[in-house]
């Protein structure tokens, strides 16, 4: 009985939290079907914003930049950041403190300051390409999130595994790949997901770090002066449905597999 109550309580809590996170998403999806241009002022059902979206070259360009920068920057930041975390973890105390503190700078600095400082740096370095500038900026503000996701996992895992693997004749790379990385995988994955998330949503740093190229956030902030078009709601709705569908397909399959495996195990025991 108590167990059932606890289970009920657990599920209700998670459901409420998900409702909290998804409520605004539902709102903006609903208003993508609004006849009127104003979010919050429902005047009737219409699909016109979806049609308008597909014809809008500027939005499609921006979407392309957003997605490709998010993937590339998150991958590079995850690789660099994971290696960095492994290295930092085995540094001497003082040096580690210095590196950790500097790594925190992109998190501590207001985005605006980071963006402006990039703008000045890139001008000094004479770096021209808008896309490359955006990539570098995104990789840089992503790395700390990877490092601080991986470091707690390193602390949890045993130092001796790596040494043991080396003693057994592994090269450092194999030891890393076969022993250390699998152990800290959850940290790497969450670092990657955080990076991807941050990159998708960044406006301030991107705006100042680059010119002549824009991601969706820059586009959305700039149209806000005249009112956000429901085209953007429509785009979000499409992306959202696509992501959720993909997730469910991938995950439901593995959930089913896990259930099957459990059944098999039960049968064997019986």
């Amino acid at each position: 009985m108590v167990k059932k109550l606890w289970g009920f309580f657990k599920n209700t809590y998670l459901a409420l939290m998900l409702l909290f996170l998804y409520a605004p998403i539902l709102v903006l999806m609903v208003f993508s079907f609004n006849e009127s241009k104003t979010m919050g002022n429902w005047t009737g059902f219409s699909l016109k914003w979806y049609q308008a979206l597909l014809k809008d070259g500027t939005i499609m360009d921006a979407l392309g930049v957003t997605l490709s920068v998010a993937v590339i920057s998150a991958v590079v930041a995850t690789v660099l950041g994971t290696l960095a975390a492994i290295g930092i973890h085995s540094m001497h105390k003082r040096r580690r403190a210095v590196v950790e503190n500097i790594s925190q700078l992109p998190m501590v600095n207001p985005d605006l300051v980071t963006g402006i400082s990039f703008m000045m740096l890139f001008a000094l370095l004479g770096l021209k390409g808008g896309y490359v500038r955006m990539l570098i900026a995104h990789i840089t503000f992503n790395i700390p999130y990877v490092i601080f996701s991986v470091l707690p996992k390193l602390r949890q895992s045993s130092n001796q595994l790596y040494e043991a693997a080396m003693d057994l004749g592994c090269t450092p790379w194999t030891a890393l790949r076969k022993v250390v990385i699998p152990d800290i995988m959850p940290g790497i994955v969450s670092g990657f997901i955080l990076s991807f998330t941050l990159s998708l949503d960044d406006f301030v740093v991107s705006w100042f770090a680059t010119s002549g190229i824009q991601n969706l956030s820059i586009y959305i902030y700039s149209i806000a002066r005249r009112g956000i078009s429901p085209k953007i709601n429509a785009l979000s709705a499409i992306l959202f449905v696509a992501v959720i569908t993909l997730l469910l397909i991938v995950n439901l399959k593995s959930i089913r597999e896990e259930r099957e495996a459990e059944k098999q195990a039960k049968k064997l025991r019986a």
């Binding site: 104003t38 070259g57 993937v71 590339i72 820059i218 002066r225 005249r226």
Partner: protein, 349 residues
């Protein structure tokens, strides 16, 4: 792990596919345009590309000041920009603008003489006006029964919690200065302190200091009185017929958004062709109807017809315009405004 990699590769491919959908040929000139968001009919860009073979890389910005930061960079890449009046003064003072060759912009003849040779750019050496308007009061006729004919109504306690002010130093300080009968370009410390006191007195009545969301709130009926630009008022009234727009007869702020070419531009001839294209009456009319802001192009206004010409919000009387003032760049004196503004914003009653 493999699934994740596959998923990422998919997103990346999709992203690259979207990004490559629209790119100019290798040998054609690319114009880098920086404009306010949603401030041009993008079909016109395609028309321009088709007519001239010049490719337009169109990007957008959110505020004048953000754009200014970009234009001040030594490696600025833009060829066309759309700053407001007082920013032009600053750009001219910093010697950041390219002097236009009027021979390449014959369509400038269609611009109404009233909107040429203005104080921020005498002789239009560097800029061509793009859109203009006034600042006024948007009000909900179902909630406001007093006549809206003076700035004082924004200080009326009857409308406590229903007043929306602009979240911008110049605009909101400007309204307070106008209410007090001071110039919106005043450099008298005492005037600023008066305005600060008036805004602090008003703060308990204010629902919020907002930027663009003012329009959404007013359309949704969430406020009784708000400061807006005339062009936005047109759109709000369109969406919600209960709304109306009024400018106090004592005058207000008159503003202009203008087209300029930064000095760093490598393609000035093509940029001038672009300006000329935008000044073409047919094009300007289509553009103004799309945006909804007032056009300075008199030939375009003729094409747009009486609905626009006779609308006092869209085309206010010369009598009113004579009483209006354009913002000037304040130089370092903006700090005095800013200090006052900070005290207003951080004031807790």
């Amino acid at each position: 792990m493999k699934k994740l990699a596959l998923f990422l590769a998919f997103i990346l491919l999709f992203g690259l596919f979207c990004g490559c959908a629209r790119r100019g040929g290798k040998d054609s000139v690319t114009l880098n345009v920086l404009n306010w968001g949603d401030y041009i009919d993008e079909d016109l860009l395609k028309q321009f590309e088709a007519e001239t073979g010049i490719y337009v890389n169109y990007t957008t910005m959110a505020t004048n000041e953000e754009m200014l930061v970009k234009l001040q960079q030594p490696d600025c890449i833009y060829d066309i920009c759309f700053p407001s009046d007082y920013i032009i003064e600053k750009l001219v003072a910093d010697d950041l603008l390219y002097a236009l060759n009027k021979d390449n912009i014959p369509n400038m003849q269609h611009i109404d003489g009233r909107f040429l040779d203005l104080s921020f750019d005498p002789g239009n050496e560097y800029s061509v006006p793009y859109m203009w308007g006034t600042v006024g009061i948007l009000y909900n006729t179902t909630l406001v029964d007093d006549p809206v004919d003076s700035w004082d109504i924004l200080w009326n306690e009857k409308y406590s919690g229903q007043i929306l002010m602009y979240d911008s130093i110049r605009d909101t300080m400007g309204v307070a200065l106008l209410k007090l009968g001071h110039s919106i370009n005043t450099r008298e410390q005492s005037d600023i302190l008066d305005a600060e006191a008036a805004l602090i007195e008003q703060k308990p009545l204010v629902l919020a200091y907002l930027g663009d969301p003012i329009k959404d709130r007013m359309i949704a009926g969430g406020g009784a009185l708000a400061i807006v630009y005339s062009g936005d008022a047109m759109w709000c009234i369109d969406e919600n017929p209960d709304l109306a727009y009024a400018v106090p007869a004592t005058g207000t702020n008159l503003w202009f958004d203008n087209i300029i070419i930064p000095k760093t531009s490598q393609h000035t001839a093509e940029a001038e062709a672009f300006i000329n294209f935008l000044c073409n009456p047919e094009v300007a009319a289509q553009n103004a109807e799309y945006i909804g802001y007032s056009t300075p192009n008199s030939a375009a206004l003729e094409i747009m017809g009486e609905d626009y010409i006779d609308n006092p919000t869209y085309n206010p009387s010369q009598e009113l315009l004579d009483k209006c003032d354009i913002f000037h760049d304040l130089g370092n004196f903006i700090n005095v405004y800013n200090d006052s503004w900070n005290r207003v914003k951080s004031f807790v009653g």
